[in-house]
């Protein structure tokens, strides 16, 4: 879940200035967001896609301020470090 373009992100701005104060002078912008890993079962990829889209629409993202994007990976568990993007 990422904040929509144009929505002020004070958390991202604060992290950005912290990075610059650490010497990363080229950091121009930081946008904060939220990552969730969801372990669930689906018969096929298309079903999984549809289900995740619905989860995002109904609960995970607020369309007023956020956009959601996702990636479906088969046969990986939430606790599996390899599942990290």
């Amino acid at each position: 879940m990422a904040l929509r373009a144009g929505i002020a992100d004070p958390e991202g701005q604060t992290i950005g200035s912290a990075l610059r104060s650490l010497g990363y002078a080229t950091v121009a912008e930081v946008r904060s967001g939220k990552l969730m890993r969801i372990n669930f079962e689906a018969d096929d990829h298309a079903t999984a896609e549809a289900e995740v889209a619905e989860m995002c629409r109904r609960l995970l993202a607020n369309p007023v301020m956020e956009v959601a994007s996702w990636e479906i990976r088969a046969d990986e568990q939430v606790g599996d470090e390899r599942a990290l993007p």
Partner: protein, 248 residues
């Protein structure tokens, strides 16, 4: 004119993590002598309530987003039906956040622009009180009232089109202002767009505001401007045949 069968009845919803419910019950019950009832969020029936309160706090721990889980609590279906029937609903602080997540009010409340939790007295300018007769009927255009704020996520945002529509229809009813009523960046405690502190739905019966009227109902606590919202409701109920009928 008097109520046909006694006192106003308010239902105060309580979610896991709500913290202002007892202040509402204190004001409605002890200060005003109304009937006030706490309703756990799993309830599906509001009973004979004349008005519904969604109080402040941190419903469901504010997890995911403020109000995002609470909107799916069973009681919210009843609140939605009550609102659809024209019943007066007020959401203060976390209650406002729940109302926006539930789609009963537009926009969203985000992290304060300075990232701090802000707990303070705040001056508010009243606009278009007639757009929300049930909760603001006793107030006048341009009135300045002082109410406490107490929130970390009160920055009202909505798309430009939504903001323009709210303004055009006179549904921005409270703005953060300085002591003489100017809506300035300095008077804005959280970075809300256009200094918006409170809005009402199209029908005028659902009010959402970040400040806490229930914490300003007795001079002993520093101010009693919050009482004016409760008094408005009382007068409005007196004048409503439908509310009176429910009492028979």
């Amino acid at each position: 004119m008097t109520l046909l069968a006694g006192r106003p009845r308010v239902a105060v919803a309580v979610f896991p993590g709500t913290w202002s419910e007892r202040d509402f019950v204190h004001v409605a019950g002890s200060v005003l002598g109304w009937e006030a009832r706490l309703l756990w969020h799993t309830e599906t029936d509001l009973g004979d309530a004349d008005a519904v309160v969604l109080p402040g706090g941190f419903a469901h721990g504010d997890h995911l987003r403020t109000g995002a889980i609470a909107r799916f609590s069973p009681i919210m279906a009843a609140v939605g039906a009550f609102a659809a029937a024209g019943g007066p609903v007020i959401g203060s602080c976390n209650g406002f956040q729940v109302l926006t997540e539930a789609g009963l009010l537009p926009g969203a409340l985000m992290r304060n622009d300075h990232l701090e939790f802000r707990c303070d007295w705040q001056t508010l300018r009243v606009e278009h009180p007639s757009a929300c007769a049930s909760w603001l009927g006793d107030l006048a255009e341009g009135d300045l009232i002082r109410l406490p704020i107490s929130h970390g996520e009160g920055r009202f945002v909505a798309g430009a089109a939504t903001l323009d529509a709210l303004e055009a229809s006179g549904r921005v009813v409270l703005r953060y202002a300085d002591d003489v009523g100017r809506v300035t960046a300095d008077a804005n405690p959280n970075g809300s767009e256009r200094g918006i502190a409170g809005i009402v739905n199209e029908r005028g019966n659902v009010l959402g505001l970040m400040p806490h009227p229930e914490r300003a109902a007795e001079p002993e606590v520093g101010g009693s401007d919050g009482l004016r919202l409760f008094r408005s409701l009382e007068r409005w109920l007196h004048d409503q045949p439908a509310a009176a009928e429910r009492r028979l």
